[in-house]
Symmetry: C2
Subunit: 763 residues, 2 copies
């Protein structure tokens, strides 16, 4: 473990404190800029009263959901807050810091999610309104992108500020406290991704099954009782969930870099990983402000240009920072290291690897999910031979893109690792911070999607928007589809980089715990040797299995919740007279309530699985199996996440291709086939797929946190197989009970009396 | 690596030779019994001239395909035969033995596949004929099961005979030679699974797309030019591919047990792993002969009863054998081992774990794919809300069943490992041999499926079978669906057990190679330490990615080949007058030729990927990354294989549920939805899924074979990064070229002139 050879001084110098303080100020500036962007968005025109009415219903529904989710998660948060105290730490300051910053990470994560939703539900109205004015396209696009800019600034500002404060306050003890911060962020983000993902797709699928399929009324038709819920879903899933997820990606990657930086360079290694994302803040501001729609180019070109410009600026500034702040040789740490390479060069190249990786994922995802490239065109073509071939070709696209994306990510990890030499793991983490410099722009790109999607919904429902404006909104929506897929690719890449780095710090943590107990060097060796055994292989298999299980649970949850929506909408059509004629308003609120209740109930099982599975494996089968578990979960999780995201994206855009008049156009059999593909893809790309990213991080952080406790009960005076088995069994029982409960729920729904399951005969 | 402590004597005692000779004789007896079963099948009545005509066309098509496949594979086999000489070995005798037994394994694998096809294409005619007689159900079932019995006896007979001969001829050097034998079997089986899988599903999907969907004529209608190809496909895929696959599972598991047995107990450890499957031969004979259809119970009950009876007999006999042939204490190997447990008890429990595992998989698979249980009923129910929900629920079933099956397999591995103590890995391998005792019955069960399926096809096409007989054949076909899914589960379980054992022997092989080079103990330690690094994690990710890629390639290959069938059948309908009226016979042979050509072409890319990916990873990234690669491939491969097999099985049987009159019955929208599910499931369950089992074994054996060479070029006098890089790059280039060629093929097909793509307007 040569990378530890430099870890000596755990004191920050005065200069280091100064830099960390500057970074904190940069983070605050980002928040201020975000505030101004937010003001600009809110200042835009709000359209007709009818449009405002609809927007208000969506705002209220989304706020109500997030408030209930906050209450649910608060309980969970407090329990974990207390449990964290039970885990080993150096002293009470560290122990308290870890728990407190767990809460802060959790609150930040929720806050940024809430902000994303709050602003999006206001911005969509304004985008819809702007599309009606002259020069509407440019105005609408500007509002949508500024909305994303505000959320993006909030994301990077809060993440960077939190990390900088921890470094300032805890210096050498920062790593343990940062584990808490990252864990809080990841845990809440996972719940928001899962809950929001279930909400949005349950409402969407439920609305489509009754509206489009049974009653033959268009999407977003106000006669459909699930329409408002569908629009609320876009905001709590694609906005709140996504923002929290990206915040967590940002925080955890930064945390991993800081932990490994301190492990490689001592406390002064805490500084450079702060500088890189601070540079990212600056370039994100540039990126947001230079994004201006041009009338003669597609929105995607505009957004991509901003991305590439800010990526290049980031790379240049990071290189400069590396040469200014890092020594030119490892000799500074002792003459014997003089030939170990140039830290400044290593850091520069590592950061650039991360930035280039972001660009490559952008390209790959665009290729596999964009309507203008081969794969989606091919899926569209297969619609001529029916739904089965659409499904098969979409799955192939997903598999293929997952393989190439995973290989690119793997190459980046391996490149950084090879390059890093003595600081190999730190180099991997730095590649992660390189990716982070693009997060500001990425959030801005992603928020673009749901805001335009919702603007289109409001326009449709109000009927107050003319043909040209509708055209504008449709174009923006299509652009949003691709930007959404790109974000998911980048998010999963941060998961792999952070996880690889954390995988290293997991081992560190074990070695350190062993040395605390006073095991000899030989003892450490033999302990680590047991990691290479069939035991580990079983761990790898369980890790891969958890990813499959989590995905299956998420897809199932959507089906169940969508079923409840279907029954309710059918009931309203049947029992409330005048809905179909448009004389009576359906009870939108009831559907929102049902989906809110169901998605909060459904998120428990996958959430508990994520937290307790590593505990069951770690205490039950040991640290070697847990290492294997993490490796299996990371590898399979990466492939599964990209597969789900990209096949979903390809189906969605293949449908758009057909709707644009290819292969028979709207209403043809080919169209029906692509609608089936799109419906299958919905829970893939918006529920199961994106939730795997925080899942990986949660499982990784849980493992890092519990590693010392596992060691404590495995060797030395506290060693006790009984205690380990007991902890493992408790965790297992929690998982089993959660799974059984959600199984029974599915029985209850299919036992709903037949009459409530029948479609209303109104047509 | 304590399990090696016993490995001293590499000499077989005279008694050991005697036992091995007895085992060889038992193997020959199995072949003789198989011959008598075969005679019995051939002696049955052959029905009408029309039926014989059709059967003859199928026989000729299948034989033509396998002959062309033999020619293609011969070239490949000779190349590998020569390449094997380049790999390190102790002396020339070992080197020659390894290559020669590679060829023998390959020839055996092909032979058993050919036999399976040859007999099935004759048995289906006789089953169809028997169904017309009085007491037809019992007679038909008896012929179908005896056919399977003949193939099963051939499988276990050849596998056991080969292994016993190697042990007799090579004694202490047997392990290396066995690696060659297993590799030959696995490699050919993989190609036969992939090629046969592509053939059967391309013909099936192609026939359905034009016949059922476009021309609205029933399945197996003689006017469809692809009908004969479809029936040929069942035989080359489900019979030949399956038989070769199970032979390879048998051979490789046995090889793994023998390798680890000799590693644990020296040459005498080669004996017990031979005794266990010899017992399996005896119980398989009992199982086949006690299977008698009763008129008042379903065929599945009959078959399951035979399975359980023979499993119990196996367990009892194995326990007796363990106490007779194994010492009661490790003290026999030195007083210091006196307290290491009782070898006889350990071996007995391990074997029973394997047998119980087979039973559990049978139960689990039956639950998830059988029409009488919740999961398939639920998939059937979702057909009421359309194809999208059918697809989603089927995917959920697949994910869920994959998780539970993987966990059961993992528990078996872990249980055997924990139990094994000093001989942990050997215990895992013994659990594998426990599974093997059920293979004879399993093959008999599996062959049942395609034979009844084809019998139904012949009956349908000839029109010479009455209502009652058709009913009998339909029932047998449904039973066959579940037995097929069960076999796949068992096959993948053998893959995991063998792979885990081989994973251990991979490390053994590295340690041994290191000690040959003269590395010190510390050197070995530090070399093994590098296994635990992010490098390994990258390996895990690549291993998982290869499974995704392989699956995607297989699914894609089916789509492409099915496309070619569609164009040809459309062409015949358009250009040959009188087909639709039934006055002219379509050119069946042309479709068979096209599918033969395409499937042989398509199997190259996945095949090359399987062989060269471990070479690229091992030489390029080192032994640690290769260990990770194997772990990733095993874990993800297991889950993916079960997911694909069971979701496919569930869709197929959900369709049958609807066809039995549920949810609207045949012709309803619900039926159309399940047909889409079934079509998606076809390449899942019959092409990609089953091919993953031999894929895992091929990759494992390639790794074990090349491990010493990697070590040779990594440390010691021959160490050369250049050589390693060169080998890795050559392997990589081969993969890339293969992928690019198959990519270009897909372009060529979609560029086929539009007129040949149009359906004929005959209706």
């Amino acid at each position: 473990m040569s990378r530890q050879f430099l870890a000596e001084g755990l004191e920050l110098s005065g200069g280091d404190y100064g830099i960390a303080a500057v970074v904190a100020v940069v983070a605050l500036i980002a928040l201020v800029i975000g505030y101004f962007l937010l003001k600009e968005v809110l200042a835009a025109g709000q359209g007709t009263a009818k449009m405002q009415d609809i927007a208000k219903a969506v705002q209220e529904g989304a706020a109500a959901y997030l408030k209930r989710q906050r209450n649910t998660l608060s309980i969970f948060g407090v329990v974990v807050f207390l449990l964290l105290f039970a885990l080993p730490a150096d002293d009470w300051s560290e122990r308290i810091g870890r728990s407190v910053f767990f809460l802060i990470g959790a609150v930040f994560s929720f806050t940024i999610g809430y902000l994303g939703m709050w602003l999006a539900t206001r911005a969509n109205l304004r985008v819809a309104a702007a599309s009606r004015e002259s020069g509407g396209r440019e105005k609408a696009m500007r509002i949508a992108f500024r909305t994303g800019g505000a959320v993006g600034m909030g994301t990077v500002g809060l993440g960077l500020f939190g990390a900088a404060v921890v470094v300032l306050a805890y210096a050498g003890q920062a790593p343990k406290v940062l584990e808490g911060f990252g864990f809080g962020a990841a845990l809440i983000a996972m719940f928001m991704r899962v809950g929001g993902g279930i909400f949005t797709k349950a409402a969407d699928v439920g609305a489509d099954l009754v509206g489009k399929v049974e009653q033959n009324i268009p999407e977003d038709d106000p006669r459909n009782a699930a329409t408002i819920a569908d629009n609320v879903g876009d905001n709590v899933g694609d906005c709140a969930g996504m923002a929290a997820d990206l915040f967590e990606s940002y925080a955890v990657t930064l945390v991993a870099a800081l932990i490994l930086g301190s492990s490689a360079f001592g406390a002064s290694g805490l500084i450079f990983p702060l500088i890189v994302p601070a540079i990212g803040v600056i370039t994100a501001v540039i990126g947001v402000y230079i994004t201006r729609a041009r009338s003669n180019e597609s929105g995607l070109v505009t957004i991509n240009r901003s991305f590439y410009i800010s990526a290049v600026i980031s790379a240049v500034l990071c290189a400069i920072a590396a040469f200014v702040f890092l020594p030119g040789s490892f000799a500074a740490f002792g003459e014997q290291y003089a030939n170990d390479g140039n830290p400044a060069v290593i850091a520069t190249v590592a950061v650039i690897i991360g930035i280039v990786l972001a660009g490559l994922i952008l390209k790959l995802t665009g290729y596999y999910t964009g309507t203008e490239h081969g794969p989606v065109k091919n899926v569209g073509k297969t619609s001529e031979t029916g739904a089965a071939t659409v499904i098969l070709s979409g799955i192939s696209v997903g598999f293929e893109s997952a393989v190439y994306t995973a290989l690119v990510i793997g190459a980046a990890v391996f490149g950084a690792y090879l390059l890093g030499g003595a600081i190999a793991l730190f180099a991997v983490a730095l590649a992660g911070t390189g990716l982070l410099t693009t997060v500001g722009v990425i959030v801005a790109m992603d928020t673009f999607g749901p805001v335009s999607d919702n603007a289109q919904g409001i326009a449709e429902m109000s009927g107050d928007v003319d043909e040209a404006a509708a055209q504008t909104l449709t174009e923006l929506d299509a652009v949003g589809n691709t930007t959404k897929a790109i974000t998911k690719g980048i998010a999963i890449a941060t998961a792999v980089l952070a996880a690889t780095a954390l995988f290293g710090s997991y081992q560190d943590s074990i070695t350190k715990a062993l040395s605390t107990i006073g095991t000899t060097a030989d003892g450490v060796k033999s302990f680590i040797d047991t990691i290479v055994s069939p035991n580990t292989l079983v761990g790898v298999m369980i890790g891969a299995a958890v990813v499959f299980m989590f995905s299956g649970l998420a897809v199932n949850a959507v089906s169940r919740a969508a079923g409840a929506v279907v029954y309710e909408v059918r009931r309203q059509f049947r029992e409330i007279a005048g809905i179909m004629e448009g004389t009576t308003r359906p009870e939108y609120g009831r559907v929102v309530d049902i989906v809110t209740r169901d998605s909060l109930r459904e998120l428990a099982t996958p959430g508990l699985l994520a937290v307790f599975a590593p505990i069951a494996v770690g205490f039950g089968l040991g640290t070697g199996a847990l290492a294997g578990y993490l490796a299996g979960a990371i590898a399979t999780g990466t492939l599964m996440a990209i597969f789900l995201a990209n096949s979903g994206g390809a189906w969605d855009n293949a449908k758009k291709l057909v709707e644009d008049g290819n292969h028979g156009g709207k209403g043809s059999e080919a169209h029906a086939a692509t609608v089936i593909g799109d419906t299958v893809g919905d829970p893939f790309k918006d529920t199961a797929g994106p939730a795997i990213n925080p899942l990986i991080k949660v499982m990784n952080l849980v493992s890092v946190l519990i590693a010392p406790a596992i060691v404590q009960f495995s060797v030395g005076p506290d060693a006790s197989f009984g205690v380990r088995l007991a902890i493992s069994l408790v965790a297992l029982v929690i998982i089993v009970v959660a799974v059984v409960i959600s199984k029974r729920r599915s029985t209850v729904i299919s036992d709903t009396p037949a009459e409530t399951q029948e479609p209303a005969k109104t047509a």
